[in-house]
Amino acid sequence: MKINSDMLGKVLTMGAALLAIVSTIVIIIFISTKGLSTFINTGISVKEFLFSTTWFPDRAVEDGGPQVGVLAFLLGSIIVSLLAVLVSAPLSIACAVFIQEIAPFWGQRLLQPAIEILAGIPSVVYGYIGLSLLAPFIRNNIGGLGFSVLAGFLVLSVMILPTIVSVSTDTLRALPQEWKEASYALGSTRWQAIRLVLLPAARSGLVTGIVLGLARAFGEALAVQMVIGNTRKIPSSILDPVITLTSAITMDMGNTPMGSLWNNALWTMGLLLLLISCCFILIVRFVARRGGITS
């Protein structure tokens, strides 16, 4: 009996862990099958899908036939999430350094719990604050409609802040104390120690945090959809409205019949999101393996 319970335990826990593999594979297979039907059933080429901005998913054949080029959506996602990271990364890393090096007592007592709370705020609430506070502010004080690239990346940059801060803080905490002490012993100031020793040593962890933040920004759907205006045009200024892959899926998935080209194109956009998020994971693993300064 004893041996049996031991075996049973091992099999049960292993089964649960294997479920992670199974669900990942099943998700990839199902989304791919559905997403690839745009190319297989309708004969639209991958190149045309990715690099064309003509989006007439329900145009009649007499008028030139349907076309599904998602470049405008893809560029929208890239612009909004890259800008969000550009704003958020320096601020987040500064916060992590503050928590760990400048004011550990205040940082760990006040700022770290605050960041964790920030991480728990639901994305629709961020979206709603963007919609009811930020967008009108931009419209009245800066210009444009308010629903814009600017509103989108500001909302996202606050949303991804906790992700980057917590990964960066963990990395800084894991650095050996002696390195900092050695740097002080050589006569460097605290800023010199941070800039020349700690940040370079933590480089791979910081990059990991930034890539995870980017991934989160890229995949975020509802908050972005609420504030960017959802106009399918490549924006010429940050006050222009824009559209992203996620916001297009959110808005149209429910209104298009299953199996239609429009609907299939949305699934292909979902597949694109899946592939991009897998790329982010591979980048993170590559960076982690390369490491920063290792002993």
Partner: protein, 294 residues
């Protein structure tokens, strides 16, 4: 610039960044609670919403959110717990472990809308359940499983090896050691982890649009037969959660008192999520104190 001056400037910049983050956080929460507080009253919390008239509440949405939370945690907690125990106790540095970790990482960073699409395909369409609480709960399980696994792994790894050795020395096998010694010892961490994961479930919306649906049928709270379609407990009925409701009223813009409903709902959502967060810390610490008698 002299090194000393640069150091001073840098310190000021770091303080400014930290203060800025606190101000952003504080003003956001303050804004939501101030505006929302004005519209929260008993009627608002209990009455069903109105479609085109003013004066609707969010009663069914609050109920749906909690019910969905319970359903999804019924799957997430046992599977996450077992998976986490495997990684912490049994897994060696093998190819298999590497693949499991890679998959958990992948699941963790999948955009929730992609999980929603997967749920639409498999749980909504293939099973024939349609938009339902069950589909939503399973989609949420996919999203939260990685988190629960990680919390469990951390909590279990925090248990000192001397306890395991003592248990094995007394003749217990591995599984008995895990059940009787390791898991009770990791309990405070597990409770905090489960509550934090629950908080995430509560705020999730994108994955639910296509799984649990964006509507709530008229519920009869005196109907406790779970197979009846108007029963609140029927897991195969569509259900709109609070987070989805906030998104829907804002994008549809049909009701005249939109601001009141949206402000109130956002405040309720924030309060509940904050409640989860604070109780996770408090309960974890309390159980820990209780167990270690310090």
């Amino acid at each position: 610039m002299s090194a000393r001056l640069a150091d001073k400037v840098a310190t000021i910049v770091f303080w400014a960044c930290a203060l800025m983050v606190i101000v952003i956080l504080g003003s956001m929460i303050g804004y939501i609670l101030y505006h929302g507080g004005k519209s929260i009253d008993w009627d608002f919390l209990t009455k069903p919403p109105q479609v085109i008239q003013a004066g609707g509440g969010i009663g069914p949405q609050i109920f749906n959110s909690f019910y969905l939370l319970v359903l999804s945690m019924l799957f997430t907690i046992p599977i996450g717990l077992l998976g986490g125990v495997y990684l912490a106790e049994y897994a060696r540095n093998s190819r298999l472990t590497e693949i499991i970790r890679l998959c958990i990482e992948t699941l963790n960073s999948l955009p929730s809308i992609v999980v929603g699409l997967f749920g639409l395909l498999v749980f909504v369409n293939m099973t024939g359940w349609g938009y339902s609480l069950m589909s939503g709960a399973l989609a949420l399980t996919v999203i939260n499983l990685p988190l629960m696994v990680r919390f469990t792994e951390e909590a279990v790894q925090g248990v000192p090896d001397s306890l395991r050795e003592a248990s094995v020395a007394l003749g217990a096998n591995r599984w008995q050691t895990i059940i009787k010694v390791v898991l009770p010892c990791a309990f405070p961490g597990l409770v905090s982890g489960a509550i934090i994961t629950s908080g995430r479930v509560f705020g999730e919306a994108a994955a639910l649009l296509f799984t649990a649906g964006m509507s709530s049928p008229a519920l009869d709270f005196s109907q406790w037969n779970i197979f009846n379609s108007s029963s609140p407990l029927n897991p195969f009925r569509p259900a709109e959660t609070l987070a989805v409701h906030i998104w829907k009223v804002n994008t549809e813009g049909l009701i005249p008192d939109l601001r009141r409903v949206a402000d109130g709902s956002a405040a309720v959502l924030i309060l509940i999520v904050l409640g989860f967060n604070l109780s996770a810390r408090w309960l974890g610490r309390k159980i820990y104190r209780h167990m270690t008698a310090t």
